[in-house]
């Protein structure tokens, strides 16, 4: 960890329109929950609110907000700097590349946890009229776990290709969205499924609310492997980082 790099990264990540976009996305989910909450309050019934909260947090919070936030922050944390050439100023310093990657990862992951976790918490409490037997807490923890794994993966993507954003989207949409629905085997390598397993394990809500398909142990083991593997890959890539040549 390096404090100077952390501060620079924070300013880079949050100084631009990116932050506004991400806040809007989270805000949208809270707004939907708020409308539901007000509607329910007006009609006076609470039945099914837990189910609605589960659906909202699962289908928007974990399936859309979490990967998008992580994708934008994870690919920008180091990738944007490499792309625009400023990475040279960072890398031409007597600092181990491991420290550079870990710092970038911690800052981007921290940002993603906040930008996903807070909207999930607010939307969950509103939609479910309270903590709902650990359902909201489960989703918040799951969102945090998922954000960290996603960011590590997308950071590694950004060191493997200059089109990390596209590959990240393909992973989320095709691998997790499409293939995981068709072939059970691909679910193991799906961050979304790992997160759902965590949310499920922490909440006492009836299983009909959650679509978890992995057991917790598998989810945690695979999640840890993805996190460590992606980080190690990113470090290795940065240690062998080469500037794109003038003749290519």
């Amino acid at each position: 960890m390096n404090a100077v790099i952390a501060r620079l990264t924070l300013r880079q990540l949050l100084g631009r329109r990116r932050l506004l976009l991400l806040l809007l996305l989270g805000g949208l989910m809270v707004l939907v929950a708020l409308i539901y909450f007000l509607n329910r309050a007006a009609s006076g019934g609470e039945a099914g609110s837990e189910r609605f909260a589960g659906r909202l947090l699962q289908n928007f919070g974990l399936a859309v907000l979490m990967p998008l936030v992580a994708l934008l922050l994870g690919t920008a944390a180091l990738g944007a700097e490499i792309e625009d050439g400023t990475a040279v100023y960072l890398l031409a310093k007597p600092i181990s590349r491991t420290s550079v990657v870990l710092t970038k990862l911690v800052v981007a992951a921290g940002g993603a946890v906040l930008l996903t976790g807070v909207p999930v918490l607010l939307a969950g409490l509103l939609a479910a009229h309270g903590p709902a037997d650990g359902l909201v807490l489960g989703f918040v923890v799951a969102a945090a776990v998922g954000s960290v794994i996603y960011v590590a993966m997308f950071l590694a993507f950004s060191l493997l290709t200059s089109r990390a954003l596209i590959f990240g989207l393909l992973y989320v949409l095709v691998w997790e969205g499409l293939l995981a629905g068709l072939f059970a085997g691909t679910r193991v390598l799906s961050v979304r499924q790992i997160t759902l397993a965590v949310a499920d394990a922490l909440s006492d809500a009836p299983t009909t609310v959650l679509d978890a398909q992995l057991d917790l142990t598998t989810a945690l083991v695979v999640g840890a492997i993805l996190l460590v593997g992606a980080t190690a890959l990113a470090i290795r890539r940065l240690q062998r980082f080469e500037i794109a040549g003038e003749t290519v």
Partner: protein, 328 residues
């Protein structure tokens, strides 16, 4: 340019073990039979040189491999074959060499959201200097940017960005300075100032290597020159020597006169003329000695009763100058 290697078998006398002096035989920069290719494209082809001290210009046309070479020297490219070392230490994959190198990259990009001061101070902190603020003040003073240090880099002109980049590269007072096209985008005054700064840095004992595609710039600043053309080291050594080689190379001219045929007949007898051709009513003259030809051509024409209308060098691009050096 290369330091003499010690004579084999002669061990330095084991004097009092007080100062384990740095071995003077290790050059600041050493490039040994280095090639670098991208797929099938050879960017650098078997280049060797070593430098210690002084200002050296890396001269060559665009795309010749100057940046590739500088990137290898600064540890941002791995040589495909051969070795690149800074003070004896290989540069690639070794961030510790940046304690000894200051690098001014060519790309204009910088952290536009920082002020010049913040940028240089961040550099000092990343170098873990004892007093980053003082180091930043000193470096900014070197490039005379104190008056504008609190403006955001995004608002800087090209020349100012270039200077703040130099300040950031100087902040840890490195003995080796590598600059990629440092004069790009500078106005003549800024250029002069930068040259002065680099000369001063060299006078303080640093090794400075800068790249440029402009002969004139290199001539005014560098004591030594490395000419690189199409990935090969075409020439190296004293600037004046290389300048002479470039001037004395064969030149081709097209001539328009009142009687091209008569003039051609006279010119072909001259020892300084290698060939004369008359195609499509155009007289083309190839001279082996630019100086002798330019001194004698008007006299020859007058004596032949021919009046010269136009004398145009046809082949004056820098690339042709360089390719002559390669063929030589």
């Amino acid at each position: 340019m290369t330091d003499p290697t010690p004579i084999a078998g002669v061990e330095p006398a084991p004097a009092e073990p007080v100062v384990p002096a740095e071995p003077v035989t290790t050059p600041a920069l050493a490039v040994d039979h280095v090639s670098r290719w991208y797929g099938n494209v050879v960017a650098i082809n078997d280049v060797s040189f070593s430098l210690s001290g002084g200002v050296t210009g890396l001269l060559g046309p665009n795309g010749a491999g100057k940046s590739t070479l500088l990137h290898m020297l600064s540890g941002f490219l791995r040589p495909s074959t051969g070795s690149v070392a800074v003070e004896g230490t290989p540069t690639f994959g070794n961030p510790e060499v940046y304690r000894r190198i200051g690098l001014v990259p060519e790309r204009e990009s910088a952290y536009t959201f920082l002020t010049g001061r913040e940028f240089v101070t961040a550099s000092a902190r990343l170098h873990q200097l004892a007093d980053p603020e003082a180091a930043a003040t000193r470096a900014i003073g070197h490039v005379e940017m104190a008056a504008t240090e609190d403006r955001r880099i995004g608002t800087y002109s090209k020349g100012m960005r270039q200077r703040i980049k130099v300040a950031s590269a100087l902040v840890h007072d490195p003995p080796i300075l590598l600059l990629d096209e440092p004069f790009n985008g500078m106005d003549p005054r800024q250029r002069l100032h930068m040259m002065e700064l680099l000369r001063r840095m060299a006078a303080e004992g640093r090794t400075i290597l800068f790249s440029s595609h402009i002969l004139e710039e290199v001539g005014r600043l560098a004591e030594q020159v490395l000419v690189i053309v199409a990935g090969r080291l075409a020439a190296s050594g004293d600037f004046r020597e290389i300048r002479r080689l470039m001037t004395d190379r064969p030149h081709t001219f097209t001539v328009r006169s009142s009687d091209d045929r008569a003039l051609a007949a006279v010119l072909v007898t001259q020892p300084s003329i290698a060939g004369v051709s008359l195609d499509d009513g155009m007289l083309t003259v190839r001279s082996t000695d630019f100086g002798a030809f330019s001194r004698s051509v008007t006299g020859l024409a007058r004596r032949a009763g021919v009046s010269l209308h136009e004398l145009l060098p046809t082949d004056e691009s820098l690339e042709s100058v360089f390719s002559y050096l390669v063929r030589r």
